[in-house]
Each structure stands twice: as C-alpha cells, then as structure tokens.
Symmetry: C2
C-alpha cells in the first residue's frame, strides 16, 4: 500500500479476525477464526457451536455469504489501459493496427499502473489470485505486492523465430525469475511464459521446458485458441499444437494452457496424461469469435479439471470472474443441454481447481487453509431470495456483490473500500492517455 492512502477505518493486517455467523455456499451458518493469515478454526452454528474467543477484528457477517476468493488462471493484467480502445474488429487488424502498436509504447511505469488498476478491479470483484503473462513483469510483481494479492507471474516470451531475439527473451525470463526469487514474497511465484507456438521457436519452447524443469517452475502458454493456429501447426509441424508442445516437453503438471479451444480427442488425452491445466476464457473466446466452445464435457470425461480465466481486458473487457463464471456455465449449455456445468461445479472451476492449477494452497474454506476469503453482501435485490447461494453466485451476481476481501489474512477490502483506490484510478487514467498518445 502506498504512503498517501487515507485511513479507510479498518486495520489492514490484524493478527486475528473473527467472521461471525456467515452463510456458506452450502447454507451452513459458520464462525470463521483467522490467525496469522490462516483459517485456524471454523464452527458450525447450525450444530449449536460458535467461536467464543475474541479477535483483533470482528466482522458481523449475518447478512453475508462467505466463500473462497476467486482464482483467475489467465490474464494480461496491465491491458486494462487498453480497455475499450478497440472492439468489434477482426482479429488480425485488431492486433496489428491497434493492440500491438499501442503495446509498443509500453513503459515500466505504464505497466505498473495498468496492473494496479487490474488488481483494484480484481479485489473489488472477489479475485485474490491470478495468473499473468505480460511485459515488464518486475513492475507487475511490485504492483501485486503493493496490493496484497497472490499471483503466478510470467514474462511473455516471444522470439518470433529469431535467434538474436530468443537470447534476449531468455535473458529477460531468467532475470525475472531471479527478481521474484530475490523479492522473497510468499504470495508471488514466477512462471515461464512462452506466448504461443506461433510466436516462439521450437528452440525457445525447448529452452522453456528445460528451464522450468530445472527451476521447478510453472509454465503459462496460449494453446489452440483459434482454428488457424491448429491448421498452421499441422501445415508447419505435421501435428496439432498440443502434440507439438508435448514433444517439446512444454506440457507438465505445472502447465496452464490458456484457451485450449480447438482440441481433438488425442489432444485431450495428452492433457490428461501430462497433467496440464486448461484455462477456459469464455468471454474472450466469444468476443474474439474463435468459433468454437472449449470441449468442457470431453475434458471432464477424461478426468481433467478445467479452470477459469478472464483473459486481458482488451478482449473481455473486464476482470470480473463472477461474470466469467456465468458465461462459462451458459456457453456450455447453449449447444442443447442445460444440465452441463451446473452452478456448484462452476464455482469449483473458479476457486479450488484454479488454485490447484496455479500451485497455491487456496480455493477452499477450511481449517488449515490460508485465509483467502471473500464476503458477499446478500442485502441486494439480485441476491434475494436466498434459495441457493451457488446459483446466486454463478447466475445472479456480478462482482459488485463482494463486500469484503481477505488475502492471507490481510484485509484488502472492507465494506467495498480499498485503500488507495482514488490514486490508482487517477494514475491509471493518465497512464492510458500516455500509452495512446505516446507522450
């Protein structure tokens, strides 16, 4: 948090927090005790139990739902600066005429404020952990650290099949991994993040696989987002992107494969065997018109646990995981089966499975787990009546129902107030103007 923040009327880092009488998604009334960042005790009031111990900070949650914070497994946070800058365009002109020229004007400062804006939006909509791939990642790490969130961060390697550029990109990846190590934050982890099969050479991808194995790092990569990507891969390598990446060693139990839309049965079997985590971005897929829905049912049949991401705000255009949950559940139903991806499973995608994919012990409301918790306000029309909290969360709510956000026991938002919000909005607005004007 920055020094200028005004006092928001709540302690940011109390040693202990007692959340009293909250409603769980399964409609139990519970007390939750948090000590040193961990859920140390939970009591079920429906069984007549309650927590009597006092705490540094006590929250009366009688009109709140308590649930794990959400986990966004694929985004490019600093792209908030390009929110609404270009929409409703074909993919190639959108990238070539709009997004890439703007990104060429990025600076460390712009990335810092773009990421701060993203973190603010995520906190306000209940996301506490995210997986990011972008540039100037040291600035992203600083922003995450300043906001109190958790993240898996990878420098977006793009060598464009040039040996010279590859060496530069390898250096940047190594430097960022060292930076994160030196930062020593328990909330920030480094990933290796080759952008995609069509922007990184085989040599680059093989280096990523080996470096990730050597340093025991996660891998974050775009896979089979569009039909063109698959067709080009078959034309160039004689095989699908998944088979090719598998051969190069890129698909591991710590790999997050963003999009994973255009997969065939063999690709899905490879995912299962190699332990890859697909990250589904339904909103981005629809907006960019990738033409197909991620094969969710086939993945589930194969025993895979798909996770959920927003993608960057240039192709979404928000970071609201509540909205993404609804899009995911409804997009699966569209084809003709309303029973696919029910509400409870959608919440699992966005919490427990996402946390597993990113290697964080989180996404579960239980004793011994880190206190990564959000409280939802039920005193709102869209949250009334309270027949089924899972349904309300997935089908009725937007992220604006989130009242309180606690990450590792630190209070990031209370009664919708986030310290430093005004400064972030101002600085990010200025940064967005700079990015487009180039001044």
């Amino acid at each position: 948090m920055t020094g200028e923040d005004r006092d928001e009327g709540f302690p940011r880092n109390p040693r202990s927090i007692l959340i009293k009488n909250a409603l769980t998604l399964k409609k139990n009334r519970v007390d939750v005790y948090i000590e040193n960042g961990v859920i140390s005790e939970m009591k079920n009031r429906d069984r007549g139990e309650k927590i009597g111990v006092e705490a540094d900070f006590v929250v009366d949650a009688s009109d709140k739902i308590v649930m794990p914070g959400l986990v966004n497994t694929h985004t490019h946070a600093a792209m908030t600066l390009l929110r609404g800058y270009a929409d409703d365009m074909e993919l190639q002109p959108w990238l070539e005429k709009k997004i890439w020229p703007a990104e060429a004007r990025l600076t460390p400062e712009l990335v810092y404020w773009g990421t701060r804006l993203a973190c603010l939006e995520m906190i306000k909509t209940g996301t506490l952990i995210f997986n990011d791939m972008y540039f100037y990642m040291e600035e992203v790490a600083k922003a995450v650290e300043d906001c109190g969130m958790k993240a898996l961060l990878g420098y977006g390697m793009i060598d464009l099949f040039s040996e010279e550029k590859r060496e530069e990109e390898i250096k940047k990846t190594e430097d960022f991994v060292s930076f994160v190590k030196n930062l020593g934050s328990p909330r920030i982890k480094a990933a290796v993040a080759p952008h995609a099969i069509y922007t990184v050479s085989d040599e680059g991808l093989r280096w990523c696989a080996e470096f990730a194995e050597e340093k025991d790092l996660a891998i974050h990569i775009h896979v089979s987002e569009t039909r063109k990507e698959v067709e080009d891969s078959i034309a160039k390598y004689g095989e699908s992107p998944v088979r090719h990446l598998h051969k190069l060693g890129v698909l591991t139990p710590k790999t997050v494969a963003a999009h994973s839309v255009w997969l065939d049965d063999t690709d899905i079997r490879i995912y299962r065997q190699s332990g890859v985590w697909p990250s589904h971005s339904p909103v981005s897929n629809m907006k960019l018109a990738v033409g197909k829905n991620m094969p969710y049912r086939e993945m589930r049949s194969a025993g895979i646990k798909p996770t959920l991401g927003t993608d960057g705000t240039a192709s979404n255009n928000n970071l609201d995981m509540f909205e993404s949950m609804k899009f995911a559940a409804l997009l699966q139903k569209l084809g003709g089966n309303p029973t696919v991806l029910p509400a409870e499973e959608t919440v699992e995608m966005a919490t427990e499975w996402g946390a597993m994919a990113l290697g964080f012990k989180s996404g579960i409301l239980g004793e011994g787990y880190p206190a990564d918790i959000i409280l939802l306000d039920t005193q709102r029309p869209e949250m009334t009546p309270l027949h089924n909290p899972f349904s309300l969360v997935v089908y009725s709510a937007s992220g604006s129902v989130v009242d309180t956000a606690i990450c590792d026991g630190q209070i990031l938002m209370y009664k919708r107030a986030v310290p430093g919000e005004k400064e972030v909005l101002e600085k990010a607005s200025l940064a967005a103007k700079k990015m487009l004007s180039g001044n």
Copy 2:
C-alpha cells in the same frame, strides 16, 4: 412509494432538475435541463455552451456518463421469487416439477412483492421501462406505479385449448385492460398477452388479435423459442408458428415477439412485413439451452430492429440489462465474426429500439423527450480508462455502475439509494419463503 420510507436525502419529484457537465456516450460534455418530466434543454459544453438557469435539484455529473434509461422488452417480473430455486435442469422437468407447481401457489400479495423486488433490481441496474407478462397483473401495475417506472403489462393468457378456460382467460384480460384504463397512469399501458402457440388455442389467439385491434393495444407473445415448438407447429398446423400467428392476425406493428430464435427466411420476411418487434433474450436462451442463436444479422438485413429482454429471473437469473447487452453482442460474435452487433448498436437495441417496440416515447437523450435518464459512475476500475463509453457500457460495466435513475423527471435512485429498498428486500424474502412452503 410507501409511507414508511425514510428520507433518502433527495427530493423524489422536483419540478426541475439540472444535470451539469455529464459525459454522453459520444463523449460530449453536456448540461441537461429537466422541467415537468421532460428534457427541456441540452447544451454542449464542448462548444462553450452551458445552462445558467437554476433548478430545484442540481446534480454535478462531472464524473458521470449520461444516457437514456434501458428498456427491457421481455420479462416476467414477479419470477424474482423463484430466483435460484431450480437451475441446470432439462426444460420439461424444470417447468413441470419446479416452476409450475410453485407458480400454482401464487397469490396477489406474492406477485406484488415479487414485482417490487424486480422493479428495485431494474432501477438499480438502469432499466426504467419494461414489458411484463404474468398473473395477477393488477398487482404488477400497482407495484410499477409505486416504484415510478414505466411498463407495458399483459395478463399471460393460457387456455390450454379448453373453451371453458378460454372464457375465464378472456375475462381476466378484459378486466385487466379496464383496470389499467381506470388507473389512468401515464406510465402504464396494457397489452394483450397470449402466452404462446402451444398454450393458447386458435380461437383464443384470434380473440386476442381482434381485441387488440379494437382497443388499439400491443400484443406480447412467446414465438419460436425452441425447435420443438416449431416442429410441433408444423406437425399440428402444417406451418411454422410465425406463419400460423400471422394468419390469425396476431402479428402487428404493436406485437412484441419474445425469443424469435428458430425462424427461417420466410418467418423473418413476415416479421418485416407485419412490423413485429423481436425481443432477444440471449441469457435465457443460453441457460435453457434452446440450441440456436436468434438470427440477428438476417433480421437486420431485412430492416428489422431487434430489441433486448432479460426474460424472467428463473431462467436468467437477474434483470441486469447491462449483462444482457454483453451476452447479446458476444453471442452474435461467437459464430466466427467479431464485427457483428458492435457496442453502439447494442445500446440502440436496449434503449431506442426497445422504447419504440413498447410504444413509449423514450430511449433517446434529446430535447422534447421524457426525462428517462440514467447516470453511470465513471470512478470505478471497470469504467477506467474512458477511451469509449459505448464499449464500457456494453463490454465492461455491470448494472452496478448506475448511480442515478430518473424516470419521467422523477428521481427513482440517487447515489444508489432507492427509497424503501430495505422493506422490499424483507417482504420479498418472506414472499419467496411463502411461495415455496405454500403457507
């Protein structure tokens, strides 16, 4: 408004309102003067103009976007009581085992509080005008009147092909039309609302067409929502629902045809020739897995202006038209073309075209138009940066960005406070419990 409401710190019905320095969707800075419920004057500050006259109530809108209130052209408002009661089910068991048995326990009081909850949710998410089809419509009219909104209301006629029931339903429709006439509210209009071709006999539908013509009323009906509906119609009548309804005289320039998903080219030509207004409900269509997307491009090519609806909350499960705008725009793109239904046109669907469909002079921010206006808060992460207000409205915002709602010059919400909100949430929660327990 009810007598118990506490004072929310703003006048509900000032004679004049001055909205200062608001940003329009086209990024002009304007002053808007409202007198006796009408936008009497607008000045463009970018041209150095401003309004100097004082007003009873002045709003500094320097950090607000001003736009017309949204128009929801298809819903069943009181179904808020069933929000989250049953999801992720096949259509027939969902209707037969869950929705219909619950609806059989409806009472006038339950419908009143369900509708109040719906109106509260609509006001809080920027919808000022809606088109409703349900039961105990006198109660719906009272709720709308008490909330200050505008609505087109029709009793949902279902004769199930029985002559006896038809006579009862005709009587109920006639009674409700008289009720609305006697109510004499400038904000409430009556429609004739035969439910659908598969629940109303030809005799019933023909009566509706004649009665609507005689009384110069709008018609509200479900048309071609599912493939089964079309196949059954062809089996029974030898023609599609659209052709059959056309023959019976139900399709008029005042007819709102909800869903209109499974249409062929001839159906679309009939819509165009008869002047029918399609109401698209993308969220409901996806959730109930109707299996196809409304043929938006084909409708536009034929010169039709499609409008937007949420459908009832049992199949959505909210009334947030901002969310429905995003679903509509993205669902059209999904097939493979990201340029279809761009943001600006999506806003037209949800404002101007919707108002035309329901026969209200509204949906346009201009001198001489009724003051049906909403102000959006731009000081939020998802509304930052301000590159393109249209894009923010459709792709980034949820209804929670709405700060102020003015309908016919009456202030329904100011700084997100709606008079009587707490009472509505309490009474509607109790009503929902009653509906499910049957007590």
